[in-house]
Symmetry: D2
Subunit: 338 residues, 4 copies
């Protein structure tokens, strides 16, 4: 049994991880850390897990977790993990960081988008970007996995085959994405109150959202050249789910066949990617680790439109973290997830 710990267990991603690990046949939750709720039973905060996980929360001390865990998941606001993960820690345990600190390879880019100092630059070279479908081989050997963001997982997987196969003009990408409210976290903010969110939709972070450079980093890698794109997140009144609608101008001569082949070849054997004839809907992936990808060719405009759905708390956070754990420990990738 893999002994697992979670630091930041009381946020939405952390608690989702608890739920997934409880059902995982090869892992066991042995440490739950919370900076604000130490001393409380986990199930007092999440009564959903009454009689299932009544563990008492510890302080969020990574050293303590590292002593007793084979793997520690960090589900923390950005800026904390970069200061607490050290080489010393990585000799004791594996780290899967659900936050942003180790995702961007270039610490300067990180600092310019996140407006905080990166305190762990020395570890960046060894951190592996944990988008399983793309970096599986590197993940196998990693000690420190940077679990991707929710919007980024959905956006990158939507567009990756088009850029990898050079089917579209990389200067024409537009990603228009919708997210459920759990993506905003469990902080007590007026903007996330029920009455502020319900019965309304809005865009936010237009041209400034921090997931943008993460998407661009990975798509640039795929394209072999720099990709700069428009990314617009929207808040929609659902608890969970992300839908990304992605636009790209097809290169001359590229049509439905080439596009379909690219996706089939890139994702054919992937256990969690479903290529669907019907347009993707978030309800079909709710509570699952699936990535539902659908696409349409618009002959009138010469664009391809890709519509992809994930559950932001599962494939966009906790589920992908478990998938990464499975890869790290040599388990079948689907264990505990299907």
């Amino acid at each position: 049994m893999i002994k697992a710990g979670i630091i930041g267990a009381t946020g939405y991603a952390g608690s989702e991880l608890v739920g997934l690990l409880l059902k995982h046949p090869g892992a066991e939750v042995v440490f739950l850390g919370s900076s604000s709720q130490a001393g409380t039973r986990f199930s007092d905060i999440y009564p959903r897990y009454l009689n299932q996980c009544d563990l008492v929360l510890s302080d969020s001390v990574l050293e303590d977790a590292a002593k007793v865990c084979d793997v520690v998941f960090l589900a923390l606001p950005h800026g904390i993990a970069s200061g607490s993960v050290t080489s010393d820690i990585l000799e004791k345990t594996r780290i899967i960081d659900l936050g942003a600190d180790f995702r961007l390879k270039d610490a300067d880019v990180y600092e310019s988008w996140y407006k905080v100092v990166h305190k762990g630059r020395a570890l960046l070279p060894e951190a592996v970007y944990g988008l399983c479908e793309i970096h599986r081989d590197e993940i196998k050997k990693a000690r420190l996995v940077a679990n991707p963001g929710c919007y980024t997982t959905c956006s990158i997987l939507s567009l990756y085959p088009l850029l990898k196969r050079h089917l579209v003009d990389p200067l024409t990408l537009v990603v228009d994405a919708l997210s459920g409210v759990s993506g905003a976290g469990r902080g007590a903010k007026v903007a996330n109150l029920f009455c502020e969110v319900n019965e309304s939709v809005k865009a936010y972070g237009v041209a400034t959202h921090r997931h943008t450079p993460e998407i661009e980093q990975e798509l640039s890698l795929a394209a072999g050249r720099e990709v700069v794109l428009s990314f617009t997140p929207h808040l929609v009144p659902i608890n969970r789910g992300i839908l990304a609608t992605c636009y790209a101008k097809l290169l001359p001569g590229i049509g439905e066949d080439e596009v379909a082949s690219a996706y089939a070849e890139c994702y054919g054997g992937e256990p969690f990617i479903r290529l669907s004839g019907a347009l993707s809907e978030t309800r079909n992936v709710q509570g699952t680790n699936f990535v539902d990808i659908s696409m349409r060719i618009d002959g009138r405009t010469g664009r391809v439109v890709v519509v992809t759905a994930i559950d932001n708390l599962v494939k966009g956070a906790a589920g992908q973290a478990v998938q990464n754990m499975n890869i790290l420990f040599g388990l079948d990738e689907r264990t505990g997830l299907i």
Copy 2:
């Protein structure tokens, strides 16, 4: 034009009041007070009112409001109004208090349910309970009107004819009520976040909710004897609306005819009460000052079941406050409301 002020204008009830007064042909908003947001334009907090109410918020100083207003609405947490309304203030302006401080005639009862000291006991005798349909004549002459609570408006109007006409056993009353989330206010609390409320329902304050003594006070008055009842509020994932389902054991010999007559006679001429053959639904009263009352006789159990719907922010708060203002200033009661 009645010059109106609102202290506590940025809460849900306060902002609803702004919206209603903007459409009122006989009133004008001249003062908006907020203890936390003074100096900000109202429409910066509620962009819904951009170009319609761009007034800058003042500090919540009742003396300042009283100087320039014919009527001041207080939309504050309990315990504040009782300390700030004085005889001096009442000589300068009329007060319509949307909070709880002047609703209960017995300050000891108030203190035992609200757990705070009542600082305005001397004014209690002159305060009028502003349930318009029942206390209209007293309201006309009042300087200080205690606008009823949302649950209480709905519950009292549901059961009033039954008790007034002695058709039911007053020891058998059960009020089971559902409220939209705006009833919980605009405070930044985890419990009211979208993801905590959406896709779930719960009861709260079972046997302890503070609207209970208010309902009992008014129904006891109607019955001419003490009424003690069970009141259970529930939170449901809608922005606004209250539905009260009320149960009472019919006295021997009382049936559908007596019940129907009682409601028709008590409410026949009321502009805002609609007696409906169909069961009441909150959507039919949303955004209106209507009270939709429906009832069924259950011959099997000998009970009458009354189902009533109001909009908690309108008839349950701001709309009734405007109705009270109309009564106070001799306007047609419906002005600005239908």
Copy 3:
């Protein structure tokens, strides 16, 4: 492996059952019947199950299912099962009927509430009411299990210990219940359109809902005398979940201790019943087979108030059906459910 079939697989209860059986380690779905969608792949109707259950739907012919299945679940509108289940069928396979036809022991009561002729009176004596916590021993030996209704499961389990132990006056029972919209089924009706249901709550079937006699039958059995009660269902805008708030007058001398003991003794060893200090909320049981029961004593009125939550599609339908299957086939009751 238990070979399982579902007739009526495309309704909400039927599809939930498919989902549960897919995760069940001891069962296998071998037959899916649908009267309206025969010939279509199940996953074309429910893309959520793409790549997981791509079985083609058969006609709803019980004989065909019985030939290949160890157990057949019926998820049909009332009035159909009573005509299609026969002694002959029961010699070939076990039947778990999620509909109403075999729940009421008295066919006359059935006919008076459902307004249809009961075509299977001869089988009523052997049908077992499948409320697992109460009829476990009879279920073990049954060929025909009548899976209880959603409201009834929640209501009966809420009040059972109080009546079994004679702690309350059985003439004072009021059950006020809220249900998510999936309880209304997947029929294309204007009343269940999103815009008709969203942002509103309503009561329906006041004093006439068909789950009433089912609750009364079981509570009368528990009490050893006839119980007649008020039951009011409400529709709330959530997909799934039932919350029942139940009121009963305590007998003289009965208080918190006696009530707590009754529940602890009746339900102490039950794997799916959780007695909770906090008030029950439907989100805590969403997607699970749990029954969360909480209670409060109201000293002022002498009543006990019990608040219970279940997921109407799981413990209120498909989950309990699987629990019944587990009992029928001698498996651990929790298999595939926790």
Copy 4:
């Protein structure tokens, strides 16, 4: 008093129109037609209007309405109005058609997108496209006004100044729009049931939605050259509201100043258009005729992103229809709407 009639009064747009006309000081509803509900009181179908509009529905006979009405609003599925509006009718009354039949100037384009024969080609030349802010002068003299679609109103007003002033490359336009469910109408379809729509988002009609040619027609007119664009509608679980997020590549040398000036000059005096510094949200326009437009320049990609919100039933249907009526009859455009 303008005597107004509505054919198709029981749909969502029709009933919204009833509500608006009830509050309109210069108009009176004298005829309500419904092909399916003739003989029923309007308030029996919409109890919201009990005591406010208890008119009995007539058959949907345009000739009958024309005899008694100064203006008749048609709120019908496409393909009906083109066959029933005639020159004869237009001599008796003004027509404001909320459907699609008279919006596209080119009947061939209409037939290729709508897949039905256009039966009123002779009237197309005189029909005026009723987007008030753009065609006000023509509307004043019209007998037949084609009220624009909901998505189209929002999309055209979003992009009009950019194309009119030649600030963007017209081949780079992408409109990604979200709509509340009332946009799908009140037909009893499984796809629009609460449980199918709630807690999910989806795209639909990708590259094929019928509002596309309407947007292109008007933007081509504004640009003085053919505009072809990508338009993707999405369904989001709210009752009402449209949010359009629009992307366009800025021409060289064009920046924030030029863009801001264009919008200010085009819309400066418009009573219903609000240019806002904050990003638009649908809740701010809910129940109003406002169009909230916000924009951001993305220096990294050289794009302008325009985010616009309207209420699909008001400015996107009934409100704009009333605005058109006000223009037609020489009233202040805001009458009954602010």
